[in-house]
């Protein structure tokens, strides 16, 4: 909820033209992104839990994030067939955010412009919120791995508590591995989609 508040607060300041937007703020955004990437790396690097769990994983656990990615890509393809989005690459990049709204939306808005960036932000925030809200239903009707599939890159942090509750402790490692693998892959895949 704080996530939406931070963004909404920013929008209000923007509407009031509280800060100069051209030039300076764009540059600050880039530097904040660099800082964020460094911090994310720092968190991954010094979390010995992450590395231990990465060593214990087997093929079947590792398959979840990749299956989930393929599923998202197929979902995007169906969307494209029905609604035909102006630029196909943008649509796949939005999907490739996998719920990692902060990073994906910033990268996408840098490449594809503000309005596509906003769609990426909203779509990936909705993905996280939907996972939090729908986890019990998904677990009931589509199996205990369904909330992990829905959560994408968020399953190693924000949606982990919900997944723990509705999918059981035996799926915690799967959830963390899924989140970590996708968190690492999101920037790489978006870069690949745009051919950067």
């Amino acid at each position: 909820m704080l996530i939406l508040l931070a963004f909404a607060g920013g929008v209000v300041f923007g509407l009031l033209h509280f800060f100069p937007v051209t030039g300076l703020l764009g540059d600050i955004g880039t530097y904040i992104l660099y800082l964020l990437m460094f911090l994310v790396g720092l968190g991954i690097g010094c979390d010995s839990h992450v590395w231990k769990q990465l060593r214990q994983i087997n093929f079947r656990v590792l398959l979840i994030p990749f299956t989930s990615l393929i599923g998202t890509a197929l979902g995007i393809s169906v969307y494209q067939l029905i609604f035909s989005f102006p630029h196909r690459a943008d649509l796949y990049a939005i999907g490739a955010g996998m719920g990692y709204y902060s990073l994906s939306s910033i990268i996408i808005s840098k490449v594809a412009g503000e309005s596509v960036g906003i769609i990426a932000l909203l779509a990936n925030i909705i993905r996280e919120v939907a996972t939090l809200v729908l986890a019990p239903l998904l677990a009931k009707y589509f199996g205990k791995l369904a909330p992990i599939a829905a959560g994408g890159a968020t399953t190693s942090d924000t949606t982990l508590p919900v997944i723990m509750q509705y999918c059981g402790k035996e799926n915690i490692v799967s959830s963390i591995v899924n989140g970590v693998v996708l968190t690492l892959l999101v920037p790489v895949i978006i870069a690949f989609i745009y051919g950067l």
Partner: protein
Amino acid sequence: MFNVLIFLALGIGAGLLIRNKSKVLPYIEKTTGYVIYLLLITLGIKAGADKTITSQIHTLGLTALIITIFTVSGSVLAVWLTYHVVFKSKQGEK
């Protein structure tokens, strides 16, 4: 884009160097959270000041919602098919 990945790699490297001082991890995660909010605020400011976006927000929000329905359904169905139909895994049945 390349710079972004360099900073990620630098972070992982630095993290590996200081990993034995594991008490810093909660602070790193906390700081990361704050920086994410900071980024979202700057993104919000830019969006709010951009007239082409504020005039389109209804369509953008609806587009985002529909895209998410497709991505989440795709992921859930793909994983369900793979693990419950192909593997007939008991892992998720407990």
